[in-house]
Amino acid sequence: MYRALLAALLCLLALPAAAIDGRQILQKVDRNLEPESYESYRKLIDVQPDGTKKEYVLYTMKKGRDKVVALFLAPASDKGRSTLRLADNMWLYMPDVGRPIRITSLQSVTGSVFNNADILRIDYGAEYDVEAAEEQKDAHLLSLKAKTAEVAYDRLRMWVDKQLLLPVTIEAYAASGLLIKTLRFRDVKDFGGGIKRPATLETDSPLHKGYKSVMLWSGLKKATFPDEVFTLNYLPRVQELRK
């Protein structure tokens, strides 16, 4: 009886310790991936089963844990479109429509395997709680649970490189337990300014068999922006802020 009680007590004591470790790892992953406030250029490549590709180029600004703006620079059919994310709220501005409309995190403004939540990603720690952290041979495996129902994926399984504290693979699951997609980070590159992170992210999905999407980073650097940039009224003018 005493043994069982002792075991239960030890388990209870062990749980917060694991959670704290997991949280710390996730915090480091967030900061190692990107500074809290930054600007960057990204290329999104959608590869179809027959090998044909469609490419998009975006300029991205992020401030704090949950403010992101992305501006489409190419192709010509999408140039001038901009998207804004403030925590769980997302909007899309199309120049011809002339006003921002609300969009959802599960949609994809590009039509690729990457959805809006991937393209306008905010800190993992802002959206997910660490439920469990498991130590494996070369990686930490974090089991993450969405903080609210607004988050695009209900659960994530994130393998984190032990040495670099950068994600290697992330599996994204729906609330039903269905695997929605797998994200694979690679090509760790020194961007300067103390930023060393994967320059390539690949994703595929059992829901889109044979299709693949790739995200490439360039020009990632720390930057500061006023809060007013991350507003609906500023969306049509985002391109003017670019250097």
Binding site: N89, T104, L106, V151, E228, E240
Partner: protein, 424 residues
């Protein structure tokens, strides 16, 4: 030696392919002082004419009667921006060349051409021609006080703006009130400027206050009495879940004058306050199917009885060959024949992304119904955007309604439309 050379060549080829696949240098996308772009579009339409419809009879008065009409339209839209310091000059023009079996025409319109100054990110002042878009509705926008009316058949199409001076002040206080923005507008109307906005001789003032409060978009809008009757209203939009959005608009127009006829052609002007509102939702399923639904109460519209009286007038006038009454009906056609001239409409659209496992292939079905007279329009649509910068769209409009109903009296009973649009 040969094997080694082959291995080196293969390795080089593999590296070249990898470089091609993943090469990306942001330098080529630096901001330029001058940019220009746009699209060229070729559209073919076939109209099946509704020879019994009131608006066909008025529109084809004195012309050879036809069952169909084929129209070809070429459109060139150009947009660009020139930047210098805190200022920029942007423009958007649309040139259209259109020809059918009856007529051909060419026109060029300046949609936007405005000088903007941004001394700080939180403050912008603009002057020139500008297409401001207010409201949250997808198919309709009762709150669009300073813009040309949206076409519910093509709500995402660029529209011509008005000459105005406007400013934008933005602040982010934080907390529950995440954003506050104020947009004042001055819009002159005289014989040369904005003459299609309303009565000349007025400097119209308008304003919009935007709030993002507890994750809800809220706008309050106002237009002074001047070229148009005074009006005010509000809108809202909010995500109830990550895949479910709701929105709404409410607008009140003061002392709106509306010409109304009885079935004998006696025209009176009704003057009174009109209230329009809209409620809508957008829902996305796990299978990437998007549903959009809206209910629109058009306070400026004609009741079922008023519309029926007008159609009766047209019917009787043509039956009797009464040219005076036909002329009177033609004059009223501008008001009775505008899009969605009734009072109550439902809009429903369902679109499927990547249908049939074809990426960038999006079929859709849109329905619009006048819920007072139960007439409706159904529009199947196919859209393909899989080729870089090319958009291909096919649509078939099918209109259905009894005699003396909204969609039953339109000029066409169906329309087939196909366009190819190339962006550059």
């Amino acid at each position: 030696m040969k094997r080694r050379l082959l291995a080196v060549l293969l390795a080089l080829a593999a590296r070249a392919q990898a470089a091609e696949e993943f090469g990306f240098d942001a330098a080529e996308f630096e901001k330029k002082p001058f940019e220009i772009g746009g699209y060229a579009e070729l559209k073919q339409e076939r109209f099946s004419l509704n020879q019994g419809g009131a608006f066909y009879r008025l529109g084809f008065l004195g012309q050879p009667q036809r069952e169909t009409l084929d129209r070809t339209t070429g459109t060139l839209q150009l947009q660009g921006v020139a930047r210098h310091g805190i200022g920029s000059l942007d423009f958007r023009t649309q040139s259209v060349a259109q020809g059918d079996e009856l007529a051909s025409e060419r026109s060029t319109k300046i949609f936007d051409a405005a000088l903007s100054l941004r001394p700080t990110p939180g403050f912008t002042v603009e002057a020139g021609k500008r297409a401001l878009r207010w409201g949250k509705g997808y198919a309709w926008s009762p709150l669009g006080f300073v813009e040309r009316v949206k076409d519910p058949n093509d709500p995402q199409l660029a529209r011509e703006g008005f000459v105005m001076a406007d400013a934008d002040w933005i602040a982010s206080p934080g907390g529950d009130l995440q954003t506050i923005a104020f947009t004042p507008v001055l819009l002159p109307v005289n014989a040369d400027v904005n003459k299609d906005f309303g009565d000349p001789g007025h400097l119209n003032a308008a304003a919009k206050l935007y709030l993002l409060y507890r994750d809800t978009d809220i706008d309050f809008a106002w237009l002074s009495e001047g070229s148009r009757p005074a009006r005010y209203g509000f809108d809202f939009a909010r995500n109830l879940a990550s895949n479910f959005e709701v929105h709404g608009e409410w607008a009140r127009i003061r002392q709106l004058a509306k010409p109304v006829t009885d079935s004998a052609g006696r025209v009176t002007t009704e003057v009174g306050d009109a209230t329009s509102y809209l409620l809508g939702l957008r829902y996305l399923t796990a299978a990437d199917t998007t549903y959009i639904a809206e209910y629109y109460r058009n306070g400026t519209g004609y009741s079922e009885q008023q519309s029926s009286d007008f159609y009766r007038l047209v019917d009787d006038a043509f039956a009797a060959g009464n040219s005076a009454l036909i002329q009177k009906a033609s004059t009223l056609a501008t008001s009775y024949g505008r899009p969605n001239a009734g009072t109550d409409y439902l809009y429903f659209r369902v679109q499927q992304k990547d249908a049939l496992d074809i990426v960038y292939f999006q079929p859709a079905l849109t329905a619009m119904m006048n819920v007072r007279d139960n007439s409706y329009q159904v529009t199947p649509e196919l859209l393909y955007t899989g080729v870089k910068n090319l958009e291909l769209r096919f649509r078939l409009f099918l209109l259905q309604g009894e005699n003396f109903t909204d969609f039953g009296e339109k000029q066409v009973s169906s329309k087939l439309e196909l366009y190819a649009r190339y962006y550059f």
